[in-house]
Symmetry: C2
Subunit: 224 residues, 2 copies
DNA sequence: TGGACTAATGACCATGTGGTCAATATATAG
DNA sequence: CTATATATTGACCACATGGTCATTAGTCCA
């Protein structure tokens, strides 16, 4: 008998109940595709999970389905619920809310997996991006735009901000997110001082946006 | 010889001198990869060029080499030389220069091939991105940052702007480029009014950035 | 006209991919 | 302990890919 149980635990085959197995697969897939990008292969992923790649196809009939699931996991599940209210909490002044939110948000988002898979998915046309950006629009862009309008005219009661205000709000968002893109997509060196960066950017926004908006609202084409 | 150069039929095999052939390959590759992304295959490209894919490998021993060349072609060769001076032309006031440059630049850059291949290449780690961004830094970011400092303190003679000014300048750039990213990478609907967008963003920048910079400089004490 | 030089090709290779399926092994019920 | 249901597998398919190389055929010169 030359068997002798393999010391370092070598379970030939683990039989898990489907639910548990699925969780393991999704979890592993998130890690794997985050690192490798979506060109990663199902076989590699399976090897990493210690299962056969055929098993993956039992749980996710196509690679795309798995990827969709990974996106859900990364982007929707990681949205911090407290952000929802953070921006609308009138007990804090607007600048403070902006700084807190964006410091927090940028810190959450400024990671290679997040940024790279997000952008990667955008290029690949995965629909999750658009879904996520709708979320951002609803929970961040519009509230900020609305608040911006109030800054210009305290009396506004409109529910929907003007296009210009929305554009300016997207601008702030893009500017901040672009820091992460520069870092993780283009690989160039950027400041490590997130708080300082956010504070500066928000300050610029608050000093510039209301005036720009007012200029537009007042008479088109006014120049500095 | 029943020639008629623009062969309406099927030229079995064209024998070009290597220089000409190489040009054709590069030109075709730019178009092809722009459309398809860098997952496009050498065979497809060859078919499109009407040559065998083996021939591609005669001119570019590996696919990566071809891609490098494509990048050169797209990003370096398309840099509009007039941009170099446009920003530094003191005969125009600064706001006007900014608006002209960025309207022009955004218009040049806001195309699917440009944005997508650029971002694609960033993710893939193609070094051309970093090269290109160095160019942007030298010819756009730094001049703008410098001018921004002059706005705050007309007396500055420094050759190198402060980190904050540079960051603000990158911010403007990112904000503007992010429009194209939203459009072509995330596929969301954005304003079609480029001039309006640039004018608004630049106005916001000019109204906000000097103040933000002054705030920093003040809080920190004097700067040389 | 006939070489000769060398663009250009087709056939081929090794490898990797997403995806399928009949066979197998394991946790659990009886 | 045995039977059963099914989670899991290995072997396999069709196809695409990057890359190689001996062979073929344009074109220019003597």
């Amino acid at each position: 008998m030359h068997d002798a149980d393999e010391g370092p635990a070598k379970p030939k085959r683990k039989r898990l109940d489907p639910q548990r197995r699925e969780e393991e697969i999704v979890e592993g897939a998130v890690l794997y595709f985050s690192e490798v990008g979506f060109d990663g292969s199902m076989r590699d992923l399976a090897a990493r999970l210690g299962i056969s790649h055929a098993l993956l196809f039992r749980y996710f009939p196509t690679k795309d389905l798995l990827i969709d699931r990974v996106y859900d996991q990364i982007y929707l599940a990681r949205w911090n619920p407290s952000w929802d209210t953070m921006l609308e909490d009138r007990s804090l002044n607007f600048p403070e809310r902006l700084i807190r939110f964006y410091s927090d948000y940028l810190r959450a988002v400024d990671r290679p997996e997040w940024v790279r898979t997000f952008v990667y998915g955008g290029l690949a046309g995965v629909n999750i991006n658009q879904r996520y950006l709708k979320l951002v629009r609803r929970k961040v862009i519009l509230p900020v735009a609305l608040e911006l309008e109030r800054l210009v005219d305290a009396g506004v009661s409109a529910e929907t901000p003007s296009d210009e205000a929305v554009e300016l709000s997207w601008g702030l968002h893009g500017e901040i997110f672009y820091l992460a893109i520069r870092r993780w997509v283009y690989g160039i060196k950027v400041t490590a001082d997130i708080d300082g960066f956010v504070a500066l950017t928000v300050a610029k926004f608050l000093k510039g946006a209301p005036g720009a908006l007012k200029g537009i609202a007042g008479a088109r084409g006014r120049k500095a």
